[in-house]
Symmetry: C2
Subunit: 337 residues, 2 copies
DNA sequence: CTGTTAGCGCCTTCAA
DNA sequence: TTGAAGGCGCTAACAG
């Protein structure tokens, strides 16, 4: 079946193409009854505007790009939800891209997006990304960009983050208050500013309590849980005094559980674990996992809102529009059952 | 900065637009050295073809639509991963849409997509969808469609599913073999064929073991965990003999844990729970959750592959291309620690 | 209030 | 092997 377009619609109605177009776009210069007639017919014939034609002409794609490291992760899943919500409210479409923590993939994706496929981009940078030079093309192409959670350095744009330093401090302090004397910090990459900030908080908290802060373990940006587990086990063997683990992502917390189990170290009696995580089932883990929960959904929403403000006003995204949301420490203790 | 287009490129090279276009598309009728020169220059000026112009002209959007109920769910997260993988391998983009189990949203999304924004669609229908009449427009518009996991009835197209009947049977039998005599079946909607098939397997297994099969509880398509928990608690109170729960989605398994905890029913001693789930942490739940794991990632890949085969050959997707993958029963017992 | 006209950037016959 | 020209479907400036 031939798809109905403006031309066909115009013929059926004995009107010109432009009149039909304006009627459908609710132009003020079209008579009310004409509008009605046109819309009626459009409905009848199941008219749906061709997005590529209008995109070409109007230079509006009605689409944003969402670039994230992975999706099998509760934080990003919730964030997607928030983004999609706002996008739909603005009548926009969402293209999703996964970098799998690869800088190269990220650069390729950005390169493509700079070609005008999207009106704006929301992104959380890959842990591998050494710098943000690949994002320069976006700036040149005037494609609005908003970072969320994992920000790129050196790009003057808005960033939606959580209080990484403060929560790193709080998490560490919580472990110390629970009696830990030697706390290890696990992160998957040392190029993420977010991990740095949390580590600063971690260091400061230990220092404030007169404890050494030299047990940081950087697990290279891997998504392989077994490998992470192995490295954590090695750390625990090399440094048997470790009685607290602060994991910056939930997958490292799970690996820590595994490592402790393999070494016969009881959690939480011998080793206490705390983690940044949005796991819905954290309370049902054995033992329950105390977490720092980020407002992932809200971050996705917020980032999208900032982006759409820029898009609709046709203005660049300013660094001053950045927002920092609060994360929450959720303490969960064993029920002893 | 003005985005470079074919015209500009042609001017710089003292060639015609069409020659440049053909060179970039590796046309056989362009001299090798000309191609080289053109590509060099394109690279130099950071030329990126305008997807809306080429989409309009070639009637290829290089984009597929992925329509799923939600994303904060391990099954769909993994599926997205598989889909994205195949899409990128085919140089395609992925538009993501969440129905939040709403039939209305699903219909609106489909309506939009039928307008030519995508070359094909992958979808898992919303639990609310009473029938598939809203998908008729897609068929009319010749937009290839592949269902995965949750299929729509009455549409002649390929579907990628798992062995729902067999796995429903196996799950139930497992509970019976563990000593359960009264097994409840939980599902979020009775309009999903997938839930029906699993229930048939459940019924057959109970029958084969000479047990009654009247404890099915249909929790209306809600994503509200508290509400689900309440309803399950009511079921357990009304029918105290229930000693086994077969949950068709992981969120209902978690609600079952909560309900049992609230009623002081010990799991797994008094009530055993099994669930369809792709939770990475199922082994660490307390008690560990025995699951039927679906090959989510592979399903996403498979569905995308079938779709791309149709797209690249410009032919409709045939029901005969359907695939049924195997799910796995993963038994996890309490470590008694 | 409505119609005519001119492209948006690209691909693709047709002609040279 | 390259160039010229038309048009994909839509929007917007300019007439009337």
């Amino acid at each position: 079946m031939q798809r109905t377009n403006l031309k066909k619609l115009a013929q059926e109605l004995n009107l010109s193409i432009s009149t039909v177009s304006r009627a459908l776009n609710d132009s003020y210069e079209i008579a009310a009854d004409t509008k009605e007639r046109v819309k009626q017919k459009a409905q009848e014939l199941g008219y749906e505007p061709n997005p590529y034609a209008s995109g070409l002409r109007s230079r509006k794609s009605k689409t944003i790009g969402l670039v994230i490291p992975e999706v099998a992760n509760n934080f990003f899943s919730l964030a997607i939800d928030g983004v999609e919500e706002i996008a739909r409210a603005n009548d926009y479409h969402v293209l999703i891209y996964l970098t799998h923590e690869s800088h190269e993939r990220e650069a390729t994706i950005i390169q493509h997006l700079a070609g005008g496929r999207v009106d704006g981009i929301l992104m959380s940078v890959a842990s591998e990304s050494p710098d943000a030079s690949h994002l320069a093309t976006l700036v040149e192409s005037n494609v609005p960009l908003v970072f969320f959670d994992r920000v790129g350095e050196g790009i003057a744009t808005a960033r939606v983050t959580t209080d990484d330093y403060a929560s790193g401090y709080r998490a560490t302090e919580h472990l110390v208050e629970q009696g830990c004397r030697r706390v290890a910090y696990l992160l998957i990459s040392d190029t993420l500013s977010i991990g740095q900030k949390r580590m600063e908080g971690y260091r400061a908290a230990l220092q404030a309590h007169g404890l050494p802060a030299d047990a940081a373990l950087i697990v290279p940006g891997t998504l392989d849980r077994d490998q992470n587990t192995r490295r954590i086990r090695e750390l625990l063997e090399q440094d048997p005094a470790i009685d607290g683990i602060f994991a910056s992502v939930e997958t490292l917390a799970i690996s820590s559980y595994e490592a402790c189990q393999q070494l016969g170290r009881r959690v939480p009696e011998e080793v206490k674990i705390i983690s940044f995580s949005n796991l819905a089932t954290a309370a049902y883990l054995n033992p329950p996992l105390t977490t720092i929960r980020q407002p992932a959904y809200e971050m996705g929403k917020k980032a999208a809102e900032i982006l759409f403000r820029a898009i609709s006003r046709n203005r660049p995204v300013l660094p001053t529009q950045s927002a920092e949301l609060q994360s929450t420490l959720v303490v969960r203790r064993s029920t002893g059952g």
